[in-house]
Amino acid sequence: MKIHKRSSALRKMKCFPCQFSNTIKSAQSNTSALMSASFFDQADIISTVEFNHSGELLATGDKGGRVVIFQQEQENKIQSLSRGEYNVYSTFQSHEPEFDYLKSLEIEEKINKIRWLPQKNAAQFLLSTNDKTIKLWKISERDKRPEGYNLKEEDGRYRDPSTVTTLRVPIFRPMDLMVEASPRRIFANAHTYHINSISINSDYETYLSADDLRINLWHLEITDRSFNIVDIKPANMEELTEVITAAEFHPNSCNTFVYSSSKGTIRLCDMRASALCDRHSKLFEEPEDPSNRSFFSEIISSISDVKFSHSGRYMMTRDYLSVKIWDLNMENRPVETYQVHEYLRSKLCSLYENDCIFDKFECCWNGSDSVVMTGSYNNFFRMFDRNTKRDITLEASRENNKPRTVLKPRKVCASGKRKKDEISVDSLDFNKKILHTAWHPKENIIAVATTNNLYIFQDKVN
């Protein structure tokens, strides 16, 4: 049986909204369920999901600054053909809300991204970041403790030295497993704008952090300085027309990284070229399709996520309506484009009005780079098989799915007669959006985050 403890150093929650929600939680709910629910929601909204390199651990971050790590049970593969289930392994408070006194701004504790480091010893390391600060966490297990101290009693009290008559060597005895998370490094005060991405380099010594206008390069061991490698801030802020939306290091080349912009372009930079990578080595941009031009063309072309394939040959970008696969060798257009929810193209004005058009969907590759997955509205998520060119829409909801149920493919009807089992566009729930998804690096296990629920699916093994 596993016990998880919060790191004792960060137990207290001081911010006002958190205290408020704490009060609501403990009080009897005389208020309507709707009101109390909304306060619970705030801290529980999942903001990032990430498998580690082996797939054994799954980390999630939420709006309340907490990180919850799930671990896959190590089942005996011979006995059962299905993979192990994921259980909660560790929970800790990664970031606290802060107050910037200089600007009178509150800094949200919401975890924007989590990235795992590859495992080098018994402990696990991950980077988690909010809008301003990145932290390196060490998650370690303890399942033995020393017993038989000479000067201390078992409960920790010091013995009277006069009572010590013999000497003994303390021995390790097994104990209940305890998982501890401790912050090892805190990388702070390097970003004026909100951090949207972090990415660990393939050298496993450095990583980059990107905000709206700048990208910084850090060394994992050094917290008091970082190098600015990209700066797109104009001299006059009123001339600003483009911001950085995501950045990632190449999985194999430690000198290469890409960053995407709000104008739908991706720039690939080589750090060997110069210290400040303001001039890109490659610019990936698809010419606009004039037939699809609308007032919102620029807004929907803004890239919300960029991910390299595991092989490093391709990269995938997600804009509002589509997923595009780019070959790094070809800059003028993507090699594959998949429409995620084209039926929304005729609803752009309404989506703009309710701000849904600014939703930042993420995307992910499977382990073999043959299938890509991304989320949509109404708790739908989509998968595209690059080889067979088939796609599927599935729903993550608890109403229809008991555990071990096979998911039924869904279909959205754009217009005209609605067939049975189809959902019309106007009955989609735009509050239920799946922004964060993750795919196990080796197996066909996926993690899908709805607003405040996490779903883990695996493919049926016959």
Binding site: A33, L34, A37, S38, F40, D41, Q42, I46, D62, V68, F70, S82, E85, Y86, V88, K103, L105, E106, T192, Y193, M237, E238, L240, V243, T245, S262, E298, I299, S302, S346, C349, S350, Y352, E353, N354, D355, C356, F358, R390, L394, K402, P403, R404, T405, V406, P409, K411, D426, S427, D429, N431, N444, I446, N452, N453, L454, Y455, I456, F457, D459
Partner: protein, 366 residues
């Protein structure tokens, strides 16, 4: 217990889903986020729109996003501020229950004229930008995207206006909105209180009337003189050419006028206001051109009622700040009265005209 493999018949093109929902936690239960919420309340949480954090002021559009579980989603409840104005027919469509707001109308109606659509989008953009300015820390990404959209629309309007020689608006200055100094200069809300008052008046009046019927004619003195000089320039230009037929006000299929943008400079704020309809411009020029054509004919002078062409007359329709509707009415009222007196009325203050009058008086007097 588990369902059998999905039959191949499900879904026309998609393959049967090989994905089984394990959603696992201990004991095969569906995995839940280990939040503090009670089990029973969980079902209510999905689909509840999380209200904005306490530090943000409530946004007017937020009302449109009230919790809705399966009741049609936020598309059904657009902000009521964008209701269609009087006199503008709404197209009846299949999704009538969702036609709550203009954005729905925008999306579903194919017959909305392009300038109207453009004006709608521009209004929405400017409203959003204004709302963001009121926030302590606006989202830079969104602000940039919206500002680019505004610029793009303005550029388009400017190109349209520059193609039409009758347009008199003094050019569009693509004033980028000033981003609150997020970095070293600190947070600054650039709105001086006076201008924000004006703006909110604009907003209120805008919402009260349809975007086409509303013509905001708020110009500063500088703009007025520059508008007049550009009118004069155009008039000079047109002496050389025969009046093209396009001078007739826009065809019947289009709503009254294409809205033009008159940009207003409020101190150093450089904010963009709503598009202003230059009723003044197109009406004047169409009449003045015919006047110019007949300039050679002496008979015309007999029809001119000089009292109307007093320089003071020009100011009232242009004076600011008036409630826009009042300004419109007054402007419209004065022009018909001009019309009744003569066919060639030009309430434009021209130095040439006054000189002519002077000469006439001298001639008549002697």
């Amino acid at each position: 217990m588990g369902a059998g493999p999905a039959a191949g018949g499900r879904g026309a093109r998609s393959s049967p889903s090989p994905w089984a929902g394990r959603g696992v936690a201990c004991g095969g239960e569906e995995l839940r986020w280990p939040g503090p919420g009670g089990g029973g309340s969980r079902l209510l949480l999905e689909g509840v729109r999380v209200p904005a954090p306490l530090r943000e002021p409530a946004r007017p559009a937020g009302e449109g996003r009230a919790a809705c579980e399966g009741a049609g989603g936020p598309l059904a409840r657009s902000s009521s501020r964008f209701m269609l104005g009087r006199g503008l027919k709404r197209k009846l469509s299949d999704y009538e229950e969702n036609m709550a707001g203009l954005s729905s109308a925008f999306d579903s109606s194919r017959n909305l004229p392009y300038p109207l659509k453009r004006q709608l989008v521009l209004n929405m953009c400017l409203t959003k930008l204004q709302t963001y300015k009121m926030l302590v820390e606006p989202n830079l990404h969104r602000s940039v995207l919206i500002a680019n959209t505004v610029r793009q629309i303005q550029e388009e309007m400017r190109q349209e206006s520059s193609q039409q020689p009758i347009n008199v608006c003094n050019g569009i200055a693509p004033n980028p909105p000033s981003y609150p100094g997020i970095d070293s200069s600190g947070i600054s809300l650039h709105l001086p209180s006076g201008s924000s008052q004006q703006e909110s008046n604009c907003c209120n009046s805008w919402s009260a009337e349809g975007p086409i019927e509303n013509s905001l004619l708020m110009v500063s003195d500088d703009d007025m003189s520059s508008a007049i000089s550009s009118i004069l320039k155009d008039l000079d230009f047109m002496e050389d050419i025969s009046p093209p037929t396009s001078l007739v006000p826009a065809g019947d299929d289009e709503p009254p006028k294409s809205p033009e943008n008159t940009c207003l400079k409020l101190e150093d704020d450089r904010q963009d206001l709503k598009g202003a309809e230059c009723v003044f411009g197109s009406f004047e020029i169409s009449n003045s051109t015919s006047y110019l054509k007949d300039l050679a004919i002496d008979d015309i002078f007999e029809d001119i009622d000089t009292s109307m062409y007093d320089s003071d007359f020009c100011s009232p329709p242009l004076m600011a700040p008036r409630p826009p509707s009042a300004a419109t009415e007054e402007t419209l009222k004065t022009f018909p009265s001009c019309n009744s007196s003569s066919t060639n009325n030009i309430p434009i203050c021209r130095t040439d005209l006054s000189e002519l009058d002077h000469i006439m008086e001298i001639l008549v007097g002697s």
